[in-house]
C-alpha cells in the first residue's frame, strides 16, 4: 500500500513537536477524514528556519507532515507561499489514490501558519 519512503517517514518522523514561541502556527482539520495537523514555524530574515509538527492521522498524513517540514525548512516566504501538496507527493514518491488528500493537510497547515505569521507576528 505505502512505499518504503512513506513508511520510513512514518516510522521515523522528522521535526515532531512544537516550537516554543513560534512565529507562525497553523492548526488544520481535514473536513473529509477528520485528520489534524498542528504546524509551528520559526522565521528569520524572511526564511523558515525551523518547523515542527504534530499530526493526528493515518500513515499518509504523518509521513506527509514529516516530509513537508523537512522541505520547508530553509525556504523563503515567497517559496513557501507557492508550496503545494504536489511537492510532498513527489518527495514521498507517491501515495495510494485514496490517500492523496492526506498530503493536503501539510499544504493547508503551512499556509495557515504563514497567514498567522503575517497577521500576528509581522511587525
Amino acid at each position: 500500500m505505502y512505499n518504503e519512503k512513506v513508511i520510513e517517514h512514518f516510522t521515523n518522523p522528522r521535526n515532531v513537536g512544537e516550537i516554543e514561541n513560534p512565529d507562525g502556527t497553523g492548526m488544520i482539520t481535514s473536513e473529509s477524514c477528520g485528520d489534524m495537523m498542528k504546524l509551528t514555524i520559526k522565521i528569520e530574515d524572511g526564511r523558515i528556519v525551523d518547523a515542527k509538527f504534530k499530526t493526528f492521522g493515518c500513515g499518509a498524513a504523518i509521513a506527509s507532515s514529516s516530509a513537508a517540514t523537512e522541505m520547508i525548512k530553509g525556504m523563503t516566504l515567497e517559496e513557501a507561499e507557492k508550496f503545494t501538496n504536489k511537492r510532498v507527493l513527489e518527495e514521498l514518491g507517491g501515495l495510494p489514490d485514496v490517500k492523496i488528500h492526506c498530503s493536503m493537510l501539510a499544504e493547508d497547515a503551512l499556509h495557515a501558519a504563514l497567514k498567522d505569521y503575517r497577521e500576528h507576528h509581522q511587525k
Binding site: 505505502y2 512514518f10 477528520g34 485528520d35 493526528f56 492521522g57 485514496v98
Partner: protein, 387 residues
C-alpha cells in the same frame, strides 16, 4: 514474511482449516464435474454439493425450509432484501434494518429506498445493543421485512434475535431476516426455533473458503431471483456449482458447530486477557457490550490517536488488525456503527478492532498488548490533541 506475524483480523477473514482444505482437494482435482451433469463426473460433484447442503441445514437447525448456495454473505444479504422486497412490494413498502448493519445490508436497503421503499432504522444503545420494544414502535401495517444482524462485525455485540423475531411476528406480518455472517461459528443458531425466516452466512468467516455463502429461506417465504439462468437451486439461483467451495463450506460449518463451546471458551478467555491488558492503557475504552459480544472481538478506542495510523504501526510490528470493517476501508467517514452508538467524538476516529480466532495463542495476546501500548504512546507523542 520472515518476521513475527500475528493475525488478529479473523473477523475480516479466517484462514482455511486444514480439514476443510483436505475436504476440498478432491473437488479441485478428480471430482471436477459439473454437479448438474447426469454422468458419473457430474454425480460425484453433486454428491458433494448435497452432502454439504445437509451439513449446513443440520448446523443451522434449518429443516423448515431450504438452504440456497450463494457466492457469499453479500450476495445472500442482497438477495434476501431485494428479492423479498421486489416480490412482496404489493403487501407493503416499508422495511426496518438496524442502524448498525454491515454495508451489504445498509447499502442494499439504501438502493431499495431509491426505488421507493421506506426504510426505518432500529437504533442501538451505547453498547450497540438493539431493543425489542424499540422494534415494536417501528413496526407498521406496511412493514414487510425486518433485518437485524445476529452479531455486529465492528464491535461484536450479539443481538437478541429470538426476541426481535418474536416481536416482529407478533406485531406485524413482516418476515425476519438476520445477517449471521459474523455469528456462525461463534454463536449457537437454531433458525427454526429462533423464529428466523431468512438467514445469511459466509463460509470464510468460519474457516471455510471465500466466495461462497448461503441464504436460508423458510418454507412459505417467497423471493424474486437475484441471479437468473440455469435450473440450479430449484431454479432460484443459477450458475455452475462451485462444488469444491461448497464442500469446504459444509465441512467448515460442521466443524464449527461441533467445536462451538470449546472454541468460544478458548477464544473468549484470550480476548478477555487482551481486553484487561489493553485497558490498563490510559484514556482507552472497550467498545460494544462487555459480555454479549463475539468471542474473538475486542474493539478499543484510544484518545488522541487515529485508528489507521495505529493500524500501520502495529502492521509494522507484525500485528494485523482492522480499523473498522475491512470492506469499508477506502471510505473516509467515521463508521456508521460507532456513530449510531453515540461514541464520543474524540473516540470516533480512534478505534481499532482486534479479532482473535483459532490460531491465536496466549503469547500472541501478550505480545500484541505490549505492542499496542508502545504504539499508542508513540502516536500520542505525535498528536496535536493529546498531552
Amino acid at each position: 514474511m520472515d518476521k513475527k506475524q500475528i493475525y488478529m483480523d479473523y473477523a475480516a477473514t479466517a484462514p482455511l482449516k486444514k480439514e476443510v482444505l483436505d475436504a476440498m482437494m478432491p473437488y479441485l482435482t478428480e471430482n471436477f464435474g459439473n454437479a448438474s451433469s447426469p454422468h458419473a463426473f457430474g454425480r460425484a460433484a453433486d454428491a458433494g454439493v448435497e452432502a454439504a447442503r445437509k451439513q449446513l441445514t443440520d448446523a443451522l437447525g434449518a429443516h423448515n425450509g431450504r438452504v440456497y448456495i450463494t457466492s457469499g454473505g453479500t450476495e445472500a444479504d442482497n438477495w434476501a432484501l431485494k428479492g423479498y422486497a421486489h416480490r412482496n412490494a404489493r403487501k407493503g413498502k416499508h422495511i426496518i434494518i438496524s442502524a448498525v448493519e454491515h454495508h451489504a445490508i445498509l447499502h442494499t436497503a439504501q438502493m431499495l429506498e431509491k426505488e421507493g421503499f421506506a426504510v426505518s432504522f432500529l437504533p442501538v444503545d451505547g453498547m450497540c445493543m438493539t431493543h425489542p420494544e424499540k422494534l415494536k414502535e417501528l413496526l407498521r401495517p406496511d412493514t414487510i421485512l425486518v433485518s437485524v444482524m445476529t452479531a455486529n462485525n465492528e464491535v461484536g455485540t450479539i443481538q437478541p434475535i429470538e426476541e426481535l423475531a418474536k416481536v416482529t411476528h407478533e406485531n406485524s406480518s413482516a418476515v425476519f431476516h438476520t445477517d449471521a455472517v459474523q455469528a456462525v461459528g461463534n454463536v449457537a443458531i437454531d433458525a427454526d426455533a429462533m423464529g428466523i425466516d431468512m438467514l445469511s452466512l459466509s463460509a470464510h468467516k468460519f474457516y471455510g473458503p471465500k466466495g461462497i455463502g448461503a441464504l436460508y429461506v423458510k418454507k412459505g417465504v417467497v423471493l424474486d431471483n437475484l441471479i437468473d439462468g440455469g435450473a440450479q437451486e430449484w431454479g432460484h439461483r443459477a450458475g455452475t456449482y462451485n462444488a469444491a467451495s461448497i464442500v469446504g463450506m459444509g465441512k467448515a460449518i460442521e466443524l464449527a458447530t461441533q467445536n462451538l463451546p470449546e472454541h468460544v471458551a478458548k477464544v473468549t478467555a484470550l480476548r478477555d486477557e487482551l481486553i484487561s491488558r489493553v485497558l490498563t492503557i490510559k484514556d482507552s475504552q472497550l467498545n460494544g457490550h462487555p459480555t454479549q459480544r463475539l468471542a474473538g472481538n475486542a474493539n478499543f478506542s484510544f484518545a488522541g490517536i487515529e485508528g489507521e495510523g495505529l493500524l500501520l504501526v502495529l502492521d509494522l510490528a507484525g500485528i494485523a488488525a482492522s480499523s473498522g470493517s475491512a470492506c469499508s476501508s477506502g471510505s473516509l467517514e467515521p463508521s456508521h456503527v460507532l456513530t449510531a452508538m453515540g461514541l464520543e467524538p474524540k473516540y470516533l476516529h480512534s478505534t481499532i478492532r482486534f479479532s482473535l480466532g483459532d490460531g491465536t495463542t496466549r503469547e500472541d495476546v501478550e505480545y500484541a498488548a505490549e505492542q499496542i501500548r508502545i504504539a499508542v504512546e508513540k502516536l500520542r507523542a505525535l498528536s496535536p490533541i493529546y498531552n
